[in-house]
């Protein structure tokens, strides 16, 4: 099995929120940040990022502003809103619980069933 994990459905939004929570980022930087904080194990299809970003903006979880990138290109920066921050917290709690439950389930041995 390769070191690269496939992204679970529904987790992209959570990862974007997390990435952006560390500071305003433009789209490309969001990708790099996700790769970086996942220890280079999670990769997001480049084009697929944008529909997700737009959806989060529409839900009022992110806000945007045009600015300059580090190498001086015009780019759109994404930033967490208060609502987004709250959502991130909730989703994180939910994710931990769910993944713990799944892990427990997977760790079960035959005689315990």
């Amino acid at each position: 099995m390769s070191e690269e994990a496939e992204l679970l459905p529904g987790t992209l939004d959570l990862l974007i929120l997390k990435a952006v929570s560390l500071g305003p980022l433009h789209g490309y930087a969001v990708l790099s940040r996700i790769e970086q904080i996942s220890g280079q194990r999670l990769f997001v299809e480049q084009g697929a990022l944008y529909p997700a970003l737009f959806r989060l903006v529409r839900q009022g979880l992110l806000r945007t502003e045009w600015g300059k990138s580090e190498n001086n290109r015009r780019a759109k920066f994404y930033e967490l809103t208060t609502k987004g921050r709250k959502r991130l917290q909730e989703e994180t709690v939910w994710w931990k619980r769910a993944s713990a439950a799944v892990s427990t389930a997977l760790a079960a041995r035959p005689q315990q069933a």
């Binding site: 490309y28 299809e45 480049q46 084009g47 529909p51 737009f54 903006v57 529409r58 290109r73 780019a75």
Partner: protein, 889 residues
Amino acid sequence: MIAAYLSSMVRRFLRRATMEREIEEELQSHVQLRADALESSGLERAEAERRARIEFGSRVRFKEECREAMGGNAIEEATRDVRFSLRSLRKSPGFSVVAIITLALGIGATVATFSVVNTVLLRPFAFSHPEKLLWIYSQRSDNPRTNFSMPEYCDYRDQTTSFESLAGVASFNPSFADSGPPERVQGVRMSASAFAMLAVRPVLGRTLIAEDDLNGARGVVLISYGLWSRRYARDPAVIGRAVNLNGETREIVGVLPASFALPNLDTEIVVPLQPDADPRRNVRNSVNFLRMVGRLKPNVMPQQAHAELEAIRQNLQRQYPGIYTGKIGLTVVSLTEEIVANIRAVLLTIFCAATAVLLVGCVNLAGISLSRAAARQRELAVRTALGATRGQLTRLLLSESFVLALVGGSLGIFLEMWGQRALLRLVPTDLPRIESFSFDWTVLLFACALIFLAALVCGIAPAWLLSRSDLREALVSRGRGSTGGGLQARLRTWLVSSQIALALVLLANAGLLLQSFVRLSSEQAGFDPSGVETIRFSLPQTGYDDVGTIVRFYDQLHSRASAITGIKRDALVSILPLAPKSISFVHFTRPDRPPARPKDTPSTNYRVVTPDYFQTMGIPLLKGRNFTESDDADHPPVAIVSTIVAKDHFSDRSPIGHQILVDDTDHDPRLVQIVGVVGPVKQTNLETPAKADIYLPLRQMPKDGVPWLRNSAYGVVKTSAGAAGLERLLRDTIQNVDPNVAVGAVRPMSEAVTAALAARRFSLLLVGSFAGAALFLAAAGLYGVISYGIQQRNREIGVRLALGATRARILRMIFKEGAVLLAAGILAGFAIALGLARLVASQMYGVNEHDPFSFAMVGLILSVILFLACGVAARRAMNIDPMVSLRCE
């Protein structure tokens, strides 16, 4: 929610171009940044950019996804909604067809009645600032709406300071002749200054100007839009044409707009009043024939104006003692109110009835789509599982009802336009302003609003249900629609009860109207219209200057008419019975019992007749003798009175042989002897109780009455059964006597009776059919909810039957459910109907608007029909086989 949906759609549509550019720019920037990163890892710039583009994937596809994520393209999204709705509606054609027909009929009927309301009540009047216009009558003890004399009008006009201008208006029904055959038209003489005051814009030419009123001014006439259309086929060249009115040549100078109307007066033509040229200008005692209309000065309240006019009136009464006896005040009303006041309640009732039917129809559809939504919960749950949001599902349900409402509504508007002619034939002809009827923007806007609201009413209940139910559970529960089932059922019972309530309100209203109609049609008018034909004519201005010439005309006519086979009797009368717009009455006194105060002088309807009148009309002679041909100028003047006069003024003795003073000349009252008493006749309409009547023989009529009788008189003939083709013969006979006589249409007297009931027949017919429709819909709704309940509880019923419950017991259970719904609906309906009673009170005749009998009957009828619907639904339950229904699970 829906408003927000629509407005965000509009906003997104407007923002679309900017958005598109932004997406493009952002994706481009991403590729550049990636290329930068690749370049810094050692690639050539060109290669780096190529690689970046490949890595990014299909830009078209992601752009599309971005658009969608942002709320997408409004138009595309709407088309998708509509396409989807169409697909899902096609899947249930039965429901769709029922819904579209219900909505088409409901919206069509509501729009149709609204277009009448719009024409008559809502459209702006032909006058500017109509709220400042007052219409003024002279008030008498027995009639608040009577006329002023010419000198009286001039005094008010010259002395008032409250009005910018005060105009006099008199009815004027001359013969109207141009190159075609002469016809009688119904119009007015009106102060020329009135037009500056009313600010009427002519359709063609000009209106009247102050100069037209000057003594000796060139004769001019305005014609109505109706006359212009009827006689001249809207020929613009009509301006400047010379026409002959009562032998006087006048030039047509303008065409009035269709919306021009005056209270209780026809305005086919308008000629200047020319008060100074009037022979009665300075005759204090002269006939009362004018009403007044005035425009208030700014900052003058109607009450102030009324008070000022009242002061002038009292002054006049002091100044000319004995002249204005019987006039006790003034009736001051708003001009536009006076035009539409009578008809407003009728039209609003009809409009409300139509709206109620539409509402019942929509509620019915809401009920059906509620069941559909429940049945579709599984489908909806699957959609949710596949990623549809609740908002999207709501939108789906709403867009379905929007599609239905749009299709049904458009069909309804089409029906309305198509059925307009039929509707206009039903409308009573004396409805004011109806000739300007047309489909305009207001109606279209109203129709659109109606479609929108109908869609909302139909779609909101299932959408709400959706928002309240747990769809995930629906998926688990094997799609039996059990979730939200309780809520759904409760909602449906509410809907059905409200339908029953509305149907009851309509039925109660229709019942009251029906009772009023029946009572009124059984009212005795006091004459027998069967076989009586009437013809109105006016004699030319020249050649008929005295009573003798009129009598000669009549004698010739009489001798020719008697010779016609098929005519049993014939007579002449100044005004026919049941003539709501004609006022003609005189004051009279018993010399031995003079009134205590001048204003107590009694008055009576005044009719000039020939001897055969009573027999022709079937008015019974109760005492004394009839007029004879020898009651002429050479014999002592005589009169015949009605029983009302006898009862009110001769309670102490028989009136026969008694002399009374009749004030029917421009001079002092004259003595006439009562020779007979006849039955009472309803002279104005069927509703108004018969008042006192006095009849005088034509041969003894005073000279002052000549212009009045010359202007308008009626021939009445009693035909033998089966006589046909008399119309032509009658007209020819009159014109053979004198070709210059203007002859109106021949109308059977029974038509006047029909016309007296026309407005009521109209509203009864419409409200009645609306009530029927509402009843049908309510029955269908109840049937639906009961049979749905049975279907849902198939298993429960099966179990009960299996456990030994008798079918009668099951039936009782079902009926009990129906009875609860019915009782709730009927109680609510009674409450609403009683609350609305005030609206219909003015349309009641001989029945109280709270009439308990009507309400009870209506409640009974409704209950019987709805229980029938219940029973039909219950038969299905009776057919349940416990074995089958239990195994089904």
